[in-house]
């Protein structure tokens, strides 16, 4: 009788452990769902400021068709973002030309050839490269690369697509290398062993078996690198020349979407047309990076499912 009573009391007892358990559950739940909350919040915030412009003064023909970004003009304020879009695209494009070969080669070397100490050392170095703050890269672009490019290529100014693209490529490379290496690692060893058993050389194994099997992961790595390039601000602000221009060559200065927002938002009166136009640029950036990341994520998910099927 007494025992039964005790047990039922124990059962009802909400002691420290119970509260701790609830607290941790709630905390983990909030942590897990906060990402959704934040992304939703950010989107609502940007949309609230930017969409007002989109639905009133916005002129799609001017925004996408004109290069005249003159938001503070005394005579006639114009909001042509074409040069900014082309600027961002050209820098990101060159950055990918620089970083894709480097990072894929680095991933193949680290993942397939390097062993032991060398491999560990390389991985640490690649991570270290990713840890360099972007303002440091930007400073290198502004104060060192500018003079170098002027001297070497005999061009009027060294703050241009080449400068920003090369630096951005170096910045995107570590991320691409890490993800591409993971993709190569995800290819089951059974594939390699089977190919070697058939008499394939190491190079043939990599080219004909490993790379095709890891193809989706490599594409995702490249896409995430593109996303990184698209969203980078500091480097493009300092190294691109910040000049409204449609480039003919890599030696022309350009101006990027992100850099324009960074340079102008701080000194713009809250709620003015200029302020809201900058948020419209923000919406554009948000949509593009969102699309890139979503595509990369979908591709990655595809591999994971396939990997599970191959390796039950």
């Amino acid at each position: 009788m007494n025992q039964a009573l005790d047990r039922s009391r124990d059962f009802d007892h909400r002691g420290r452990a119970w509260y701790l358990d609830r607290a941790v559950t709630v905390f983990v739940f909030i942590g897990g769902t906060s990402a959704i909350l934040f992304i939703g919040g950010i989107f609502v915030f940007i949309a609230r400021e930017g969409l007002g412009f989109v639905f009133s003064e916005f002129d799609a023909g001017e925004f996408f068709g004109s290069i005249a970004w003159r938001p503070t003009s005394v005579l006639d304020a114009t909001y042509g973002a074409l040069a900014l879009i082309v600027g961002t695209a050209s820098i990101t494009g060159l950055a990918m030309v620089v970083s894709i070969p480097f990072s894929l080669a680095a991933a193949i070397f680290i993942g397939e050839f390097a062993r032991g100490r060398v491999r560990e050392l390389l991985k640490v170095l690649v991570e270290l490269l990713a840890a360099i703050p972007s303002v440091v890269w930007g400073f290198i672009g502004f104060s060192i690369m500018n003079s170098l490019i002027i001297d070497i290529f005999e061009v009027p100014i060294g703050l241009n697509v080449l400068n920003a693209g090369v630096i951005l490529g170096l910045m995107a490379a570590p991320i691409m290398t890490t993800i591409a290496e993971d993709a190569l690692k995800a290819v089951p060893d059974g594939y390699r062993e089977a190919a070697e058993a058939l008499g394939a050389t190491r190079w043939q194994v990599i080219r004909k078996v490993v790379i095709p099997a890891a193809k989706n992961g490599l594409v995702a790595a490249v896409l995430l690198g593109v996303g990184r390039g698209f969203g980078e601000t500091m480097v493009v602000l300092m190294a691109s020349g910040h000049s409204i221009n449609i480039p003919d060559s890599v030696f022309d200065s350009v101006r990027a979407l992100t850099a324009t927002i960074a340079a102008e938002l701080g000194e713009t009166a809250v709620g003015s047309d200029h302020f809201r136009a900058l948020f419209t640029l923000g919406i554009l950036l948000f949509l593009v990076t969102f699309a890139i990341n979503l595509t990369a994520d979908t591709i990655m998910r595809g591999i994971r499912r396939k990997g599970q099927r191959a390796n039950p």
Binding site: I67, A68, W69, R70, P71, T72, S73, V74, L75, D76, A83, V135, G138, F142, S143, N146, S147, I150, E154, V155, P156, I157, G158, L159, T233, M234, L237, M238, G241, H242, S243, I244, N245, S253, R255, A262, A263, E264, L265, G266, E267, T268, A269, V270, H274
Partner: protein
């Protein structure tokens, strides 16, 4: 996220009072113009030895930032290198702030070229021809100038971001409110303009005279073709003979009182004005400073 060596470092200068423990120290919030920031910081630092009970917190960000803060009522003193517009004053009044202007000095807006650039003099018309949207000047040879190390002959225009006070003043004084030609290199800070020009033989830029470094030259500027060509200097800014010199202003909300008034009086007094002169700016009134 904002950049620039000079503006990102929005420095908070907190004066160290000698007997800070006894009374709560008053903090004067001072914000705005990038052109004025070095002198504003120097004032704040020196003032701590005058009145240990007052700390002046200085931050930069540009004239627009200071004026926005004045409109929103978040600063005691806003620094600006341009006058507030009617619209801005109205906006401030709507928020219950009544901006009062105080002239604290002048700044000659120097035209900078690379040290190897031999150009001797420039007229305002030529500057408008280089920078203005309808300006025909694209090459140095059009000005009969040949620069060693600038084989492309292209005039590389270095300008400021479109909401800086310096940008607005140049547009008003030189371009007569016409728009800038697209394709200029819009730097985010007075210092960056001078540094870029120093590294780039083909470049021309404009920025406050106080930012001059040995690697750049400042050609003299003529108001109109017949006029004398005047080199930017403290004297020529003070007597008004330099054609592109602008007032440096501090705004308070309403007539200053108490500690803000004491601070402004000190700034406009001999000590404050001499600090300004020492840093390469022109005082508001002729000042005799003992070295």
């Amino acid at each position: 996220m904002r950049r620039s060596m000079s503006t990102l470092v929005s420095v908070l200068v907190i004066a160290c009072g000698g007997n800070a423990g006894n009374n709560a120290r008053a903090v004067i919030q001072n914000k705005g113009s990038d052109t004025l920031i070095t002198v504003a910081q120097a004032w704040a630092e020196a003032y701590s030895t005058v009145d240990g009970q007052v700390a002046v917190a200085v931050s930069g960000g540009g004239s627009g930032t200071g004026i926005s803060a004045m409109i929103n009522g978040t600063v005691d003193i806003a620094n600006s290198s341009r006058k507030m517009t009617e619209r801005e004053i109205e906006a401030a009044r709507a928020n219950g702030n009544d901006p009062v202007e105080h002239l604290v000095g002048h700044d000659a807006l120097a035209v900078y070229v690379h040290a190897e650039n031999p150009v001797g003099q420039l007229t305002l018309q030529q500057l408008a021809g280089i920078y203005g949207a309808s300006g025909p000047l694209e090459r140095w040879s059009q000005l009969d100038v040949t620069i060693p190390g600038c084989d492309s002959d292209e005039i590389v225009r270095v300008s400021r971001q479109n909401n800086s006070g310096t940008f607005a003043y140049f547009r008003e004084a030189v371009l007569e409110n016409e728009d800038f030609k697209l394709g200029s290199h819009d730097m985010h800070g007075s210092k960056d303009v001078v540094h870029l020009v120093a590294q780039t033989p083909c470049a021309i830029g404009y920025s406050g005279m106080a930012y001059a470094i040995p690697e750049v030259r400042m050609p003299c500027v003529m108001g109109s073709p017949g006029d004398a060509c005047v080199t930017p200097s403290i004297e020529s800014a003070l007597d008004g003979s330099y054609p592109i010199s602008r007032p440096l202003l501090m705004y308070t909300s309403g007539d200053p009182a108490g500690q803000v008034k004491a601070y402004l009086d000190w700034v406009l007094g001999e000590t404050g004005q001499c600090i300004m002169l020492e840093l390469g700016y022109t005082p508001a009134i002729p000042t005799q400073c003992v070295e």
